[in-house]
């Protein structure tokens, strides 16, 4: 197992190296971070800025400079703000982590419940309703659902309840001076988490339903039923646990992708997470920030893919890693 993990990590290094170079080349050849100084009253500002950041050097030279620094633990500075990239990534990551944690937690609970219900009540009215809602959830873009949620649960509900503001906030994750786990935090969290949750739940519900149906039609479940084991016990003791294996791996892989940020959700709800950091950095050609973002999100994708494989082996004794 350990050898497998080390080998997988070593295999990932070239992919990370190539992806950082390709992204660096793409950002540097497409965006000019000094462009904001072109209309400056002082014509020398543009040239001074380019010299300071070495923007006239060939792209491979600039990349090599970044690579040398990152190996030494220096993530560099933002060309826009001069702030340490590490501190920008840390701050944005903490914010995105909150969304992912609550989003994945609620998605997992809801998806499992609906998936199991749909499987054991296959072709029932409830199954058709949940299937329809799942397809709707997958089809509706997050920004549409987010805007609808803001209008209905934020604005209209606030009016209906006669509140002096929205029922659920939709700017940031907290108001001034609100503490962790405060009611204010919850009121800020509901709409972005709901927007994030809908599409994930829709997709995971289908996985769980299919997995549960597969297990329910397996020989050992049929045998248990034939031996007179009560249906409830068969479902929850024998079928349910085994049906979770495929979903757990899907959850690990999907969660890893979320660490790169949720550009639409974060933009819609003015949340300064990884997605918005990436979007802003791309717009301003802030290559070092983009590289920092890629490293962090890339490492999470690699790590979670690995975790998914390992978990699969742990949960299913028939799977052996080599």
């Amino acid at each position: 197992m350990l050898k497998y993990i080390i080998r997988r990590l070593l295999y990932s290094m070239p992919a990370l190296f190539i992806s950082t170079f390709v992204l660096f080349w793409a950002v540097r050849s497409t965006f000019d971070p000094a462009a904001k100084f072109i209309g400056s009253r002082d014509p020398t500002t543009y040239a001074r800025f380019k010299e300071k950041w070495g923007l006239d050097d060939p792209i491979p030279v600039q990349y090599w400079r970044w690579l040398k620094n990152i190996v030494q633990g220096d993530w560099g500075e933002s060309t826009a703000s001069g702030e340490s990239v590490w501190s920008m990534i840390s701050r944005a990551f903490g914010t995105t982590l909150q969304l992912i944690f609550w989003g994945v937690l609620f998605s997992a609970i809801i998806a499992v419940l609906i998936g199991v219900y749909s499987a054991i009540r296959q072709y029932s009215v409830g199954d058709y309703v949940f299937s329809g809602l799942s397809y709707l959830g997958i089809a509706v873009p997050p920004f549409v659902f987010g805007l609808l949620a803001i209008q209905i649960l934020g604005v209209l509900l606030g009016d209906k309840l006669g509140l002096d503001g929205p029922a659920f906030f939709f700017v940031g994750l907290h108001s001034d001076e609100s503490g962790v786990f405060s009611w204010d935090y919850v009121r800020h969290l509901v709409l972005p988490v709901l927007t994030l949750t809908v599409q994930i739940v829709a997709s995971w519900t289908r996985f769980q339903r299919a997995s549960m149906l597969d297990v329910m039609s397996s020989d050992y479940v049929r045998t248990a039923r034939a031996k007179g084991v009560p249906r409830r016990r068969v479902v929850f003791r024998h079928a349910f646990r085994n049906s979770l294996t495929p979903l757990v791996t899907v959850m690990a892989v999907d969660s890893a992708l979320l660490f790169g940020g949720l550009i639409i959700t974060e933009s819609l709800f003015s949340i300064p997470g990884m997605g918005r950091l990436f979007f802003n950095a791309i717009q301003t050609g802030d290559a070092y920030v983009v590289m920092g973002w890629l490293l962090v999100s890339g490492m999470f994708v690699i790590a979670f893919n690995l975790i998914a494989d390992v978990l699969y082996a742990v949960l299913d004794p028939r799977v052996r890693l080599a």
Binding site: T30, D32, A34, A35, K36, F37, I38, G39, S40, R41, D42, P43, T44, T45, Y46, A47, R48, F49, K52, S78, A80, S81, G82, E83, M88, R91, A92, F93, G94, T95, L97, Q98, F101, L147, I150, Q151, G154, V155, G158, D164, G165, P166, F169, F170, V171, G172, L173, S175, D176, V180, F181, Y185, S267, L268, F269, S270, P272, R276, L277, G285
Partner: protein, 577 residues
């Protein structure tokens, strides 16, 4: 038993992770016509905006917490550094906390500099050499009660003129010396005449506190936010990407701030900002004049004071490459001017918010006192005039209705920044009108970086639509139209005369505008320059990009639009009570 222990362990792990996740984001430590301004009510009524009152209130705070929306945040708060330069940074923080020598005030129909509360009166100005003597208000103090003195002026000058990585040292590098005659008298001697001296020791930089910054790394001290203040507010916190919070400066010697606290919440998305404003999550927004914002306003906003002003520092124009065919011909440029109904274009774009007249000067509306505001007024839709000018220049209309000369059709490439819906709509209207007059416009939009970074400086355009924005009351037209500023190897291709304007009679006038201290002589030269530019149709001014301020009626106090300091310029007077 084992199951219960496992459950307890799982719950403990869950709670620990939840606490870490929630705590990670709670980082509180970080410390943009008719030259008229009208305020309209959400119910369709209209009021004249109330002039700013400088009557000082005696008490600090008591006005509640104001939560306002902001489209952007600054990259940093070291205003002198290249990392600054953000308009939103100036509106939210700089103009609220930094002392400055001059304010921007309206006098009649014109915006003028007015000595701020930092000064004891209008400075004395002498010529040959130019010497400006500032008399400081003896009551002026920093928030720690340290008097604001000439030492602060000296420090500010040295930092801007001699510092590294400075955003724009213009004007400060023309200062030979800054001397303290006494604690409250400051003598500034210029090495050469500098007409825009009133923009110094204020504007984007303010006056910086020598006693707190001297001998220290200014950038390190200020870039992430700072606690000192010489204005009505102090910066309480800057939670990057989320919010900027201001509290009153209790030791401010001028009019005291009424709000107990002001929170600017960052809402980059316009649709989300309008939703937040309509729902009452933020009490004021200052959206860019884009189509969606105008549609939202026209859809109706209840209990809102709308401050919409065409009296801005913005000038959006059709910039013509005077060095490239067909616009290298004065007659063609003039004909193009008669081909368009500019008022109709402006009405289509901004008529919904009451802005219906085109700008008739290549100076933004806030410079109306220095400009010939009717210089382009003769250029109105006149197809007979187009025919006369074009045929007089040897052009003839082909079978397709497009002018042609020597086998060359009057086909013009029209560029602007891709993705800007308002500009794309403008292009479509201009294209349609031009076609009716015999000009074929081909739209070829570009990324902003490519357009402004490469194509315009290199002269790789025929017609471009973009805006010039002023952040003070100083004309900047020599930079844009003096022949010495055409990008060449001689000036390191840093010149900004991208239209390749080269009119010998124009250069000395625009240079005089930059070097003449006498306001009347300066205005005369600038008006004459406007006239010559219009006669030669160097480019075609279009609209003033109106400023839009939307403020909830829950906010009491004067709500007005200042083209430099924004709708938040008199924030200190706002209150919920």
């Amino acid at each position: 038993m084992r199951g219960k222990r496992r459950l307890a362990t799982m719950m403990a792990l869950f709670l620990a992770f939840a606490l870490i996740a929630a705590g990670c984001g709670s980082d509180d430590s970080g410390t943009g016509s008719d030259s008229s301004s009208a305020a309209t009510n959400g119910d369709g009524g209209s009021d004249e905006s109330t002039p700013t009152t400088d009557a000082a209130s005696d008490t600090v705070g008591g006005g509640g917490t104001l939560t306002l929306g902001a489209e952007q945040e600054p990259d940093c708060m070291d205003w002198i550094n290249t990392c600054a330069g953000s308009s939103w940074g100036s509106w939210m923080v700089n103009y609220q906390v930094m002392p400055r020598a001059f304010d921007f005030a309206k006098e009649g129909d014109a915006w003028v500099y007015e000595p701020s509360v930092l000064l004891a009166g209008e400075p004395e100005v002498t010529s040959n050499p130019q010497v400006v003597t500032y008399k400081l208000n003896p009551d002026a103090v920093w928030d720690d009660k340290t008097p604001i003195t000439c030492k602060d002026f000296i420090y500010t000058w040295e930092q801007v003129a001699k510092g590294e990585d400075v955003y724009d040292p213009s004007g400060y590098v023309d200062i030979a010396s800054v001397e303290a005659t006494d604690d409250t008298t400051c003598k500034v001697t210029f090495s050469k005449p500098y007409a825009g001296w009133k923009s110094l020791f204020g504007g984007l930089y303010g006056v910086q506190p020598a006693h707190l910054l001297e001998g220290k790394d200014r950038n390190a001290e200020m870039k992430d936010g700072y606690k000192f203040s010489g204005g009505p507010f102090k910066l309480e916190s800057w939670e990057k990407g989320t919010a900027i919070t201001l509290v009153p400066n209790e030791n401010y010697w001028g009019p005291k701030a009424k709000p107990d606290k002001v929170i600017f919440k960052l809402i980059p998305d316009t649709a989300a900002a309008f939703q937040a404003f309509k729902a009452g999550e933020v009490l004021a927004i200052y959206p860019q004049p884009q189509i969606d914002a105008i549609e939202q306003i026209n859809a109706g906003l209840d209990d809102v004071t709308s401050v919409i002003s065409a009296d801005t520092g913005n000038l959006e124009a059709l910039w013509m490459n005077n060095g490239k065919a067909p616009f290298d011909s004065v007659a063609v440029r003039q004909a193009f001017g008669y081909a368009l109904d500019r008022d109709a274009i402006v009405k289509r774009l901004f008529g919904g918010i009451g802005v219906e007249a085109a700008v008739n000067s290549l100076n933004p509306p806030i410079l109306s006192a220095l400009a010939d505001n009717a210089a382009w007024s003769g250029y109105k839709l006149d197809l007979a005039k187009v025919d006369e000018l074009m045929t007089g220049d040897g052009w003839a209309k082909g079978a397709d209705g497009i002018w042609a000369k020597g086998g060359q059709r009057a086909s013009i490439e029209f560029k602007t920044t891709a993705g800007n819906k308002r500009r794309e709509l403008t292009q479509q209207i201009v294209q349609e009108q031009a076609k009716a007059a015999g000009f074929e416009l081909t739209i070829n939009n570009q990324k902003a970086g490519d357009l402004f970074g490469q194509q315009l400086p290199a002269g790789d355009f025929q017609l471009a639509l973009y805006a010039q924005v002023l952040t003070n009351l100083e004309p900047a037209n020599c930079g844009l139209f003096c022949s010495k500023n055409i990008p060449t190897d001689a000036n390191g291709n840093t010149g900004q005369n991208w239209t390749r304007t080269n009119i010998p009679a124009l250069d000395p006038l625009l240079e005089e505008v930059d070097a003449t201290v006498d306001d009347a002589a300066r205005a005369k030269a600038n008006k004459e320059a406007d006239k010559i530019q219009a006669e030669n149709m160097v480019s075609l001014p279009l609209d003033p990009l109106p400023n839009i301020g939307l403020v909830s009626k829950k906010i009491k106090g004067d709500v007005e639009e200042n083209p430099i300091t924004s709708v938040f310029g008199n924030l200190y007077q706002w209150s919920l009570n």
